[in-house]
């Protein structure tokens, strides 16, 4: 699938085919996509545990369930539990120096090993390491970028996926031996969609001019309509929800799985 199509086709899928397992190779592609995501300091922020619903013992399945995610967990065959490791800052000095060696951070832009060792580490990274709020902020932002890559990789491979609040983190921590320094971010459910991949149409989005600006905040971004038309042809902008048969689609899927209507 082309990039624009992937971005345009991504939906939060809530009805999966519970009987169809996700190939391990496809999960690896998702993880590698996350691993290749942009990351400040080239630090290793994300951590993930991949679990397959049918491999979980009853105790763990029960621990993951709560009144708000029961059906989701039943329908998705694979879960990816995303965290970041608060210790990501450790080794950042070495990784930056590695980037200097690789000519990624070049002198043309002011970088040198002396700068990393004498200034960046003591004056930038060390204060971050000592600042819990900064650690949390960067950990969440950078891991979110990685998860975004994993989400798009799932869509690219014909999978459905949805991010959920990580509500059973305490129970999971004990059952899956999660280190104390890992902070839960998102629970990602993965499977083959039982609903159409379009899931009833593209979700409403406000126009670019509501969100983005050019020059200053008094100047909304003005869309070039030719570009907008191009993105429609490319599949980034798709037919909006709801498709005329969406209500029926949801009703039929709900009946198939015995869910509330």
């Amino acid at each position: 699938m082309e990039f624009n199509q992937v971005v345009g086709t991504r939906r939060s899928i809530r009805f999966f085919k519970p009987w169809k397992p996700v190939e391990r190779s496809k999960i690896q592609v998702m993880l590698e996509a996350a691993n290749r995501a942009s990351r400040s300091m080239n630090a290793d922020y994300p951590r993930a545990i991949v679990v397959h619903r049918d491999d979980l013992d009853e105790e763990t399945r029960a621990a993951l369930r709560n009144p708000t995610t029961t059906a989701d967990l039943d329908l998705a065959p694979t879960y990816i539990l995303w965290y970041f490791d608060l210790e990501y800052i450790n080794g950042a000095q070495e990784r930056l120096n590695e980037l200097v060696d690789l000519h990624v951070l070049p002198p043309s832009h002011g970088w040198s090993k002396a700068y990393v060792d004498d200034l960046v580490w003591p004056q930038v990274l060390k204060p971050i390491a000592d600042n819990q709020m900064a650690l949390m902020f960067m950990g969440c932002v950078e891991t979110g970028i990685a998860i975004c890559n994993a989400v798009n990789a799932a869509v690219d491979q014909g999978l459905g996926t949805c991010l959920h609040a990580f509500t059973a983190a305490d129970q999971v921590k004990e059952l899956l031996h999660v280190p104390d320094t890992w902070v839960p971010v998102w629970l990602q459910l993965v499977g083959y969609p039982a609903e159409e991949p379009e899931a009833g149409g593209q979700r409403p989005r406000r126009p670019l001019s509501n969100l983005f600006f050019e020059g200053d905040c008094n100047e909304p971004w003005h869309e070039d309509l030719e570009v907008t038309e191009y993105l429609k042809r490319e599949g980034m902008i798709q037919a909006p929800a709801p498709f005329p048969y969406r209500a029926q689609e949801v009703r039929m899927l709900s009946r198939m799985y015995g869910l509330p209507e």
């Binding site: 009987w19 009144p67 989701d72 039943d74 329908l75 799985y257 869910l259």
Partner: protein, 124 residues
């Protein structure tokens, strides 16, 4: 408790409850066949009998008022509602898919009244 047993005659009385009207007016049910709506109401009457509570009270018990005066879902109340639903469906002698569907239909009553909850899906 003023809700009579699940007979045809009981259904019109259920319409007097705001929570029941809200449920029946939801997009999925408002156009459902009469027999389907009647079946749902019978289930609800049964739950009311089982718990000794009227429909509006079943919803209210899942809500609480916060210290700032806002309405929030009561985790304890929702858990009790889950237990009541499971207990009632169990008392009907249903099992497997049938039990799951009946329980989820009753969850639908609470869901359409603003109580966010999920039941298990029938996947086996």
């Amino acid at each position: 408790m003023t809700v009579p047993a699940g007979t045809g005659g009981a259904r019109p009385q259920l319409d007097g409850f705001a929570s029941v009207r809200r449920w029946l007016d939801s997009p999925g049910l408002s156009s459902a066949p009469a027999c389907e709506r009647a079946g749902l109401l019978d289930l609800l009457v049964g739950l009311c009998e089982f718990t000794g509570k009227e429909p509006d009270a079943l919803v209210a018990e899942c809500l609480r008022t916060t210290t700032s005066g806002d309405t929030a879902i009561s985790a304890k109340g929702r858990r009790r509602a889950e237990e009541n639903i499971e207990g009632y469906v169990g008392s009907l002698g249903l099992a497997g898919h049938e039990a799951l569907v009946a329980a989820n239909r009753l969850r639908g009553f609470l869901i359409h009244n603003g109580i966010f909850m999920q039941g298990p899906a029938s996947i086996s």
